[in-house]
Amino acid sequence: MNETHKVIAIEVLRYRPELDEKPFFQTYQVPFTEEMSVLQGLLYIKDELDGTLSFRWSCRMAICGSCGAMIDGVPMLGCHTFLRDYYPNKVRVEPLAHFPIERDLVVGADDFIGKLERIKPYIVPKEPRTLAEGEYLQTPAQLERILQFSSCINCMLCYAACPQYGLDPAFIGPGVLALLHRYNADSRDAARADRMQLVNAEEGVWSCTAVGYCSEVCPKGVDPANAVNQNKTASAADYFLHWLPKGSGK
C-alpha cells in the first residue's frame, strides 16, 4: 500500500483459550480506502499483520450471515460496515454479545442452530401433492405474508441485541421466532398447531419484553419484533380459545 492511504486503528478483542487467561484488546493500524469494509480491514490484519486473528466470513456481500460482530458496541455485519464511517476515530470490533466466545471474534452458534432445528423449519403439507401435479398455487399476496420473514440470513445480530436473550438463554429469540412465523404463515403449511406449542411455552413469545432493538439491528429488514408480536396476538387468541366450552371455536 502506498503512503497516500489513510490509516485507521482497529481495536480487536482477542481471546485464544489455549494461551490467554482472559480476553484483551489488541490494536492494529490498517491503511484503508473509501470502499473498504470492516471485514476487509480484518482480512488485511490477517494477511499482513497477524495471521493468528480468527473470525468467520465468506460471501463479502451481506448474504451468508457469517461475519456478525459488535462494531463500536453495535451488532453489525463486518462486510456491510465501512471503515470510512469511523475514521478518523478508531473502530472497536468484538464478538457478538450474549454468545460464548470460542476464540477471538468467533462465538459458539450451537444454541442458535439447535433452536432453529427445533421449530420444524419446513413445510408440513396441508394437502400432499405429487410432482406431476405441479406447484401449489400461491398468490402474490400470500407470498408477501412470508417473504420478509423468510429473508433471515441467520446472522444472529438480533440475539446480540436482545436483552432478554442475554438474561435467559432459554428464550427462543427473535430470528428463530421470525422463521417459525414464516412457516406458520405459509399458505401451504399445516403444522401451525405444533409450532404454537413452542410459541406459547415459557421460552416462546412471552419471554419477549418488546424492546424492539432486534428489528433495529437486523440487516435484512426481517423485523423479527413484528413476527414476535403477531405471535403474541395469536398466542393470546389460542389461550382464550382454551376457555371456551368444548365443541365451539374449532
Partner: protein, 598 residues
Amino acid sequence: MDVFKADVAIVGAGGAGLRAAIAVAEADPSLTVALISKVYPMRSHTVAAEGGSAGVVQANDSLQHHFDDTVTGGDWLCEQDTVDYFVAHCAEEMVQLEHWGCPWSRKDDGHVDIRAFGGMKIERTWFAADKTGFHMLHTLFQTSIKYPSIKRFDEHFCCDLIVDDGRCHGVLAIEIGTGEFRLIQAKAVIIATGGAGRVFRQNTNGGIVTGDGMALAYRYGVPLRDMEFIQYHPTCLPGSGLLITEACRGEGGIMVNKDGHRYLQDYGLGPADPWPRKKAMELGPRDRLCQAFWHEEQNGRTIATAQGQAVHLDLRHLGKEKLHQRLPQICEMAEAFLGVDPVYAPIPVRPAVHYTMGGILVDTKTASPLPGLYAAGECSSIGIHGANRLGSNSLAELCVFGKVAGSEAARFARSIAAANSTTIERQADAARQRAMNVVSRSKGSERISVLRNEMALSMERGCGIYRTGRDMQDTCDKIDELKLRYRDVEVGDKSSVWNTEWLLAIELGYLLDVAQAIVYSALNRKESRGAHQRLDGFDQRDDANYLKHSLAHYVDAGPPRIDYGPVAITRSQPGTRAYGAAGEQAERDRKRAGAAHE
C-alpha cells in the same frame, strides 16, 4: 482418533450437497448420511446466487429449445446425452423445491413466475426476487432437518480422502472448533464442494470457494476435465468483483461505454432494436459480453474508476418502483458498496471470474472413475456446461444431479460391505500426519498471503478473457514455482482451537493444484472455444483437433499430464454460435435445412 461410521459421506452442504443428502434419506431412511461442511450449510456459496434457476414451463418453450441453448452456449463441448437428461428434469426439481417451501416469485394467478436470462432464447428462469440461491439454499437446509438419518458435521474441514485398494472409503475431517481429527468412514463419498473462483484475484466467489474437493479427487488420480474454461461474469463491481446479477439485464438494463454508446451492437450482438430482446445485445452470452469489454478497454472507450476500468450498467429507465420490487438487493448493494443509487445513476461494472465450467470427471450418473467416489455441483464436470455455462443452468444442476448423486451413492452403499477398519484407520493416521505437518513444521519462510496473491495475479494474466501462449507459459512457470515455495509455507499459529491460519495453508495447497490444472489445460488447447479465447494464431474453433474434453491428470511433484477424451454428440452437430440478428438468421437456416430433410 474419533471415528464415525456412515453409509454415505457427503463433503459440502451447499445446494448440491444438501440435495444429495435428502435424496439418500428419501431413497433409504435406514442409511446413515454424514454431511460435512467447513461452514454452516446456509453459509455455503449457493447463498450468493441471485438470478435464478432454469426449468422449461412455458407453452411456447420445449426441452429441445433448452437443449439447443445449452449446447450452443457451450460451444458444442457438452455431453449431449447428459444435457438431455438435465433439461428433462429441471422443472420437476423446481416444483420439488416449491413443495418444500421455496418462495418462488409468483404471477397474479398464483403460478410460479419466470424471467428471461442471458443466452436463453425463451423465458425459463425460475426466481425468488433477486435472492434465488439464498432461498434455494435455506429451503434445502431447513428441509434437510426433517430427516433424522442426516447427521451433520458443521464446521468440519475435510483435509483428505481415504482411498484404499482402488476404492474410496471415507474422508478425514478437522473439527474447526477444537482442531480434533475425525475419521468419517463411508461406503460411498459424494464431493459437493463447489467451485474454485478464489484461484483468481477479482472474482464473485466467497472466501470458502477454494476448489478443495477438486484438488482432493485430483490427487487420488481422478482427472479434472475441461479446467481451462473459466467463466467471467460481465457485470461485477471493479476491485471487489462482487456480482451485479444478470437479472438486471433480464429486466431491461443496458450497458454503455464512456460515450454513452450501447457498444455491444458493434460486436455482432445487435442490432440494438427492438429492445429488450432475448439472446441479443445485453442478453447475449457472458463470454461475448466480456470479450466486448476487453476490446472497448483496449480502444480506450471504458470509464476510469478508482478501482480500474469499467463500463456503465444503466437501470434508470426501469424506474424506482420496478427496481425496488424486482431488484431490491442490487439497489442495496450499489448504495452500500459504491454509494450509487441505481434509480438515479448508472452502476460501474467490469468482468470478474465467476464460475468453473470444468471439474471432477464424472459419468452421466455422477460416478467418478474411482469406485465409491461421486461428485455433484460446481466441483464436478458432468458435461452440461461445455466451454461456457449458461446463466441459471447451474442452480438447476445442483438439484438435478445432486439428487442423482444421492440415489446412486445410496445404491452403491447398499451393494457393498464396509471395508476392513484397521487398514482404513492406518490410512487415516497417515493423512492426519500430513495435515499436521503443515502446522507443526518448525519455521517456514513463505507467507500464505504472498503466495496466494502471486498466484491470483498470475492466473488473471495468463487465463484471462483473451489468452496467448506466452502469457499462459509464464503462468505455468509461476505456478510451478509457487508450488515449490509452498513447501516452505509459514503457519505461525500453533494452537488447536479455530486455527484458521492452518486451514488457509491447506486451502492454498488445494488452490495451487487447481490453478496448475487450469493453466496447463489452457496452454494445451490450441484453439478458441467458448470461454477459452486465444489471440496467438489460434483464434478459431478447431473441431478437427479439439472437439474433445481436456483431462488433467495429477503428477506427483511435477506439472499435470494433459490428454483428451471424446465428446458425446447425439443430434446437434457443431455449428456457428451466433447471437443477435446473425443468430436469428442462423436459426432460420438450420430450420430450413431440417425441414428439407423431412
